[in-house]
């Protein structure tokens, strides 16, 4: 079974401080990992996916297969980063399902 764990329900940081949102996963094969963001009263939207290896809005995430982690990082938090962040996993091939973590609310304090 595939599982995604986001240990922090709420993460509060000051503006300008570094941000790390933790995500650990459980899957026996080679999954595809995503980060989705939901700003207040808006739809969820894809932030980034590990295969793209890109930086979006200053955020990056590296897949660490040894630690089965896909933490989301940003060196300097901005107020507009305040939102709910969901880590998600998709199993490649065949009967696929996207499993979401429970989400972490990021609160950037001005």
């Amino acid at each position: 079974a595939q599982r995604v764990t986001q240990p922090e329900k709420l993460l509060s940081v000051f503006k300008g401080a570094p941000v790390e949102l933790k995500c650990n996963y459980s899957y026996s094969g080679s999954p595809e990992l995503f980060w989705y963001v939901q700003y207040s009263r808006q739809r969820l939207q894809l932030l980034l996916r590990h295969i793209s290896r890109e930086s979006i809005k200053g955020f990056t995430a590296d897949l660490n297969k040894g630690e089965t982690s896909f933490h989301l990082k940003k060196p300097f938090a901005q107020e507009e980063d305040s939102a709910m962040y969901y880590c998600a996993l998709s199993s490649p091939g065949g009967y696929q399902k996207v499993t979401f973590g429970t989400g972490t609310k990021l609160q950037v304090i001005p």
Binding site: E32, F34, Y36, Q42, R43, L44, Q45, L46, R49, M84, Y86, A88, S90, S91, P92, Y95, Q96, K97, V98, T99, F100, T102, G103, K105
Partner: protein, 112 residues
């Protein structure tokens, strides 16, 4: 143009009623989903359709019945609504199963 649109945005109804939520995507995607987001912001998949065929059906009560008249539409009908059904329901689509999802704005269902 909105890529994934769902209606209504808000739905307030009484227990025991039957209601439907509609979803349409104009992205040409093959796969559509329904997710439920509860009051604690947990996001859980309910159904997935690929080319009008039901692929994923999580442990959802029989009162929930999805219907996909064509690839671009996936509607959700709920019978005999209960208080616990109150949540935000998100429709989503993807080009194929398991790829990145495009979400609708959500429908906030309140059962009184």
């Amino acid at each position: 143009d909105t890529a994934v649109s769902q209606t209504p945005k808000y739905l307030v109804t009484q227990m025991g009623n039957d209601k439907s939520i509609k979803c349409e995507q104009n992205l040409g995607h093959d796969t559509m989903y329904w997710y439920k987001q509860d009051s604690k912001k947990f996001l859980k998949i309910m159904f997935s359709y690929n080319n009008k065929e039901l692929i994923i059906n999580e442990t959802v009560p029989n009162r929930f019945s999805p219907k996909s008249p064509d690839k671009a539409h996936l509607n959700l009908h709920i019978n005999s609504l209960e208080l616990g059904d109150s949540a935000v329901y998100f429709c989503a689509s993807s080009q194929s199963l398991g790829l990145s999802l495009h979400f609708g704005n959500g429908t906030r269902l309140t059962v009184t």
